[in-house]
């Protein structure tokens, strides 16, 4: 295994001039959504087409034979009014869970990624361990890890091992998401051209120093958008801790759903999630676009 910090004779893929995912000169955001050059006529056609499409869809849904029943059990105004405040209050617990978990994930995953990028034959066992960890926790469904830890660890009855469901929920999420995020970091580290290490080393920096002051700052900056993506994933998976008996947003919605036989609380919770995650998704878009502009402007990084 060859890490990016090893000898400079090794071939490294060329650091491309720009992100291939975004075509250069993609036009203004508005015109991209509306499709092509935004002449007056095209705008009207786009508006009409959109209106017809969604209009017909709405009519089909609303006039479907099952709509009254679906409306009563999924879009029930009274039920929404009653459940929404309760769900929001419990969603605060999700926020706590995924914020605490995210901080730990970012730190632990970076540690894993650096371990895996250690050069030289001496560190082979450490690289193997780190790779095995990533394979193991990326290969298991999150819900399984949560179940195994949440019900298994407290059963050990070990002195000093906390038995709080909340604690184990966070541990499980950190273990699983660190595996994903470590891979993201590693991709970032490998994307930094080998000449950077060579230059740093020739300036007299140690291997550790060149990793710390030259490679990592560039690597991390490049992977911020995918990191945010994983963070959004973590936010959604925080609902899984409901299965340990932690009453968070999803469990609260389930409680109301099963006691009232009505699915509206789930719609309410979905709304909470969407309101929470969409601004973050837009933020990622903007960061990618900014990164793109900066690279095209010819700035080194």
């Amino acid at each position: 295994m060859v890490g990016p910090g090893s000898s400079p004779e090794v071939y490294f893929p060329e650091d491309g001039p720009g992100d291939p995912r975004i075509p250069p000169g993609g036009g203004s955001r508005r015109s991209r959504i509306l499709g092509g050059d935004a002449s007056q006529r095209n705008v009207w056609i786009a508006v009409a087409s959109t209106a017809i499409f969604f209009g017909v869809l709405t009519i089909i849904v609303v006039r479907s034979p099952g709509w009254p029943e679906v409306k009563q059990s999924f879009f029930n105004g009274q039920e929404f009014k009653e459940s929404f405040p309760l769900i929001v209050r419990k969603f605060v617990r999700n926020i706590t869970i995924f914020c605490v978990a995210e901080v730990l994930v970012l730190a632990f995953a970076l540690f894993l990624a650096v371990l895996r990028s250690l050069p030289g034959p001496v560190f082979t066992p450490i690289r193997i361990l780190s790779a095995a960890y990533t394979d193991l926790f990326r290969g298991m469904p999150t819900i399984l890890v949560i179940f195994l830890l949440g019900y298994g660890m407290p059963a050990l009855n070990l002195q000093g091992v906390p038995d709080s469901d909340f604690f184990w929920a966070i541990v499980a999420l950190v273990l699983v998401y660190s595996a994903y995020v470590a891979e993201v970091y590693r991709a970032g580290i490998q994307s930094v051209h080998g000449s950077q290490t060579a230059a740093a080393r020739s300036l007299g920096l140690s291997r550790w120093q060149s990793m710390r002051y030259v490679i990592l700052p560039q690597a991390v900056r490049r992977v911020i958008p995918p990191l945010l993506n994983d963070f959004i994933g973590l936010q959604k998976d925080s609902a899984l801790v409901a299965f340990l008996g932690v009453t968070e947003g999803f469990q609260q919605a389930t409680i109301i759903q099963q006691s009232d036989f009505n699915f509206t609380p789930f719609v309410a919770l979905a709304l909470v999630y969407i309101v929470f995650t969409i601004p973050q998704a837009r933020l990622v878009d903007r960061m990618i676009a900014r990164d793109q502009r900066r690279r095209q402007a010819g700035a080194t990084l």
Binding site: S73, D163, S259
Partner: protein
């Protein structure tokens, strides 16, 4: 402009293509139908299809797993096909009363949410210790009650719950219950605890946390309390709001089968079968103290 028109046509076509499949709405049979097996409104003609949970817990379901059945029996679970356990025995008695043979009863396992999800069902009714409430009756039609149930608190030796005799004494305990049960409602409405109750996906996980010492006690349906799930029965609760809680069968709204089932339940009540089944399958110890 021609292309624009063509575009609109395609867009409209795509939207129409998402139209629902036209179902012949035959669900609503006339209320004056007869209750003969051939003329009842059944999901599968000639068969009574009953939905329940999997696993199916004792004492509601018992017996050794039948060959080919989806249900696994253990010391805490049973197989609905056996006719053992109160609900299974009641189901076969009910079917017989309605004119079905034992072979004409079919069971399917469903997650709880499916018993009240809107839309056509792939069963005739759900039988899963479902308590009748007014709110729930907005989403499903209930049969008449087939069991009067109370709630009880169970705990393991060493728990602070042991020896408590009043509702006030339970306030500071960490109690647990499965989600969607009246057991949870009892904690919220009767105990009104200072500690937030722990809510579990099912009884199994609640009991696991009880064994792990993470909670002080679990509230269960009264007959469950005798099933050795925990060391001791601490006590039973007075009914929520003073109203006797009952289990009912849950039907899709407007299903005309309800009236036929209700006739059969009434017959089983008046000829003593229901009481006899309860005596046979459920321990109804009257010595368990009621929390005051």
């Amino acid at each position: 402009m021609r292309r624009a028109v063509l575009g609109f046509a395609i867009v409209a076509l795509v939207a129409v293509a998402c139209a629902p499949k036209s179902t012949t709405s035959a669900a609503s049979g006339s209320p004056a139908q007869s209750c003969a097996v051939d003329s009842m409104n059944l999901h599968a003609p000639g068969t009574l299809t009953i939905a329940t949970g999997n696993p199916a817990y004792s004492p509601w379901y018992g017996g050794k797993s039948v060959a080919g059945s989806d249900w696994k029996s253990s010391s805490f679970t049973g197989d609905p096909h056996t006719g053992k356990g109160y609900e299974s025995a009641f189901a076969y008695a009910l079917a017989q009363q309605m004119g079905f043979t034992q072979g004409q009863v079919d069971w399917i396992g469903i997650p709880f949410g499916k018993s009240f999800a809107p839309g056509p069902k792939d069963f005739d009714f759900a039988m899963q210790q479902i308590s009748i409430t007014a709110k729930r009756a907005q989403a499903v039609d209930f049969s008449d009650g087939y069991y009067n149930v109370n709630q009880a608190l169970i705990a393991d030796n060493g728990s602070p719950a042991i020896g408590v005799t009043t509702l006030a004494g339970l306030k500071d305990l960490k109690l647990g219950a499965p989600v969607g049960t009246t057991s949870l409602q009892v904690i919220q409405d009767e105990v009104r605890p200072n500690v937030e109750p722990a809510v579990y996906p099912d009884l199994d996980t609640a009991l696991k946390d009880l064994k792990n010492g993470q909670i002080d006690g679990v509230v269960v349906d009264f007959p469950d309390a005798f099933y050795g799930y925990a060391d001791q029965i601490v006590g039973q609760f007075p009914p929520i709001g003073g109203q006797q809680e009952q289990f009912g069968l849950a039907f899709q709204k407007g299903n005309s089968l309800v009236s036929c089932v209700n006739q059969a339940i009434a017959a089983l009540k008046s000829n003593g079968t229901l009481q006899q089944l309860q005596d046979q399958w459920l321990t109804t110890d009257t010595n368990v103290p009621v929390f005051s």
